[in-house]
Amino acid sequence: MFLTVPTILLRSIGSAAYTKRFCLMIASILICLPLMAGQAIANADSSAKKKADEKPLDITFTLPEIATGQYQRPYVAVWIENSKGKSVKTLAVWHGDKKWLKDLRRWWRKAGRYIESSSTPADKALSDSFTGATRSPGRYSLSWDGLDDAGQPLADGDYQLVLEAAREHGSRTLLKQKFKLPDTNTRFRIKAGKELGPVEIVQP
């Protein structure tokens, strides 16, 4: 129910049938308002617990089907950078032989080379937490809990979600989306590149 309002709101803004949708939106808000207020009161006691369960970002993206005789599944990295461009959280890295990890140029430079070269148990565990095998073409979802690589909540401010895909005998695609913390009811869409996308990002 919570998601209904912003979804309609955002879609209606981009739509030609503005007036009609607007009426619908107002109606939804009127219906939702009492519910929202009720829930807010109910959740007041468990706000600390709620914070831990929060999912500041839900990311859904496509690895496109590519018709070619030499298809190898792409290497993919998804991570978050702070306003200075420093990587603060790697969400996922899908790869094969690490010899080619460097082809995820930006992720390797900003995060991979430091995590991979570290021998601390924490970094090994960190690496295990986000790495996986390469995936076939399809639609994939990731959620981010708002914590950084060290498991600490990130300070409020400006951040950037970055997605990078590189494929042997293929191309490289780098996609970026800026967002703010905290923020709610926000939705972004990034147009598809050759090797990756489109991407849907929701801050619920």
Partner: protein
């Protein structure tokens, strides 16, 4: 252009009679007429600058001297190539080859961190003079004292220069490290703040130059992106270091760049009147 091979090459070591010497003597000839700007650019070109494997890897490196960046022209002698490991040791070359226009060597990168590749030339003295009715320009491969015995009686405009040349490049496996960038406080050197493995196209780069361990102001620097063969404009930038020895620039083109730094200064020793330091570096401007 053709150059006479110098006949006296004792300073160069036994096997260094090859084209490095040729390239360097070319540099020296130009010194006397048009300054160092026309010296033959000497370069090392690794074909990988950053590695990520969980095992060591081999990297192949070209070594040549040319004005067309990076199209091989005069093969370098590999006798004076030194490889410095991230932990401070040295590494032998793997397979190597010296052709007419290019030398090639393989390098086993088996330690994580940043490696330094250097083709250094021991400092060498050149004495320039003019003589005869036509004031012909001549040179000797001798320091000021040794030249006394060799100079013709009517030699004029005698100037002795001490010339040092170093061509370097860096390769990083996994995270970059600092050991190979530590200053030796000798000659013209380059250090951070931007690590050579952190150069990204479109991002500002700062390299600091040092002469005998002190910040080197007014170093003449030329920066050229790869592929001059395939464009009309050389796209070479001429810059100078600031008084803190800093060179600040933003490489806009992705790929290997050639940096040529030269510092000339008067020295009052009994062996030379001035010294010239030439430092060449190949670095990679990475994809953003």
């Amino acid at each position: 252009m053709s150059y006479k091979l110098p006949m006296k090459l004792k300073h160069w070591g036994k096997k260094a009679v090859g084209v490095t010497a040729l390239a360097l003597s070319a540099a020296a000839i130009n010194l006397s007429v048009a300054g160092l700007a026309q010296a033959h650019p000497v370069w090392l070109l690794p074909h990988e600058f950053n590695l990520s494997g969980d095992k060591g890897e081999w990297v192949t490196v070209d070594a040549s001297a040319s004005h067309t960046i990076f199209s091989p022209d005069k093969a370098l002698s590999l006798d004076r190539v030194a490889i410095f490991t991230p932990e401070g040791g040295k590494q032998r070359l793997g397979s190597y080859f010296k052709g007419q226009r290019r030398s090639v060597f393989d390098l086993d990168i088996n330690q994580a961190g940043t490696w330094k590749l250097a083709a250094d030339r021991a400092p060498i003295y050149f004495t320039f003079y003019t003589h005869g009715k036509r004031n012909a320009k001549k040179r000797l491969f001798a320091d000021k004292q040794a030249a006394q015995a060799q100079l013709p009686e009517d030699a004029k405009n005698v100037v002795t220069k001490l010339i040092s040349v170093s061509a370097v490049s860096y390769i990083t496996w996994q995270a970059p490290s600092q050991k190979v960038l530590e200053l030796k406080n000798k000659g013209l050197e380059l250090a951070g703040p931007t690590h050579p493995s952190d150069v990204v196209a479109g991002d500002e780069v700062s390299f600091q130059f040092f002469i005998d361990g002190k910040p080197a102001a007014n170093v003449n620097v030329e920066l050229t992106p790869h592929g001059t063969k395939y464009r009309n404009d050389r796209l070479m930038q001429k810059l100078k270091t600031g008084k803190d020895g800093l060179l600040v620039f933003t490489p806009e083109i992705v790929g290997p760049w050639y940096l040529s730094a030269q510092l000339e200064r008067d020295i009052a020793t009994d062996k030379a009147d001035s010294e010239s330091h030439m430092l060449y570096m190949t670095f990679d401007a990475q994809l953003p």
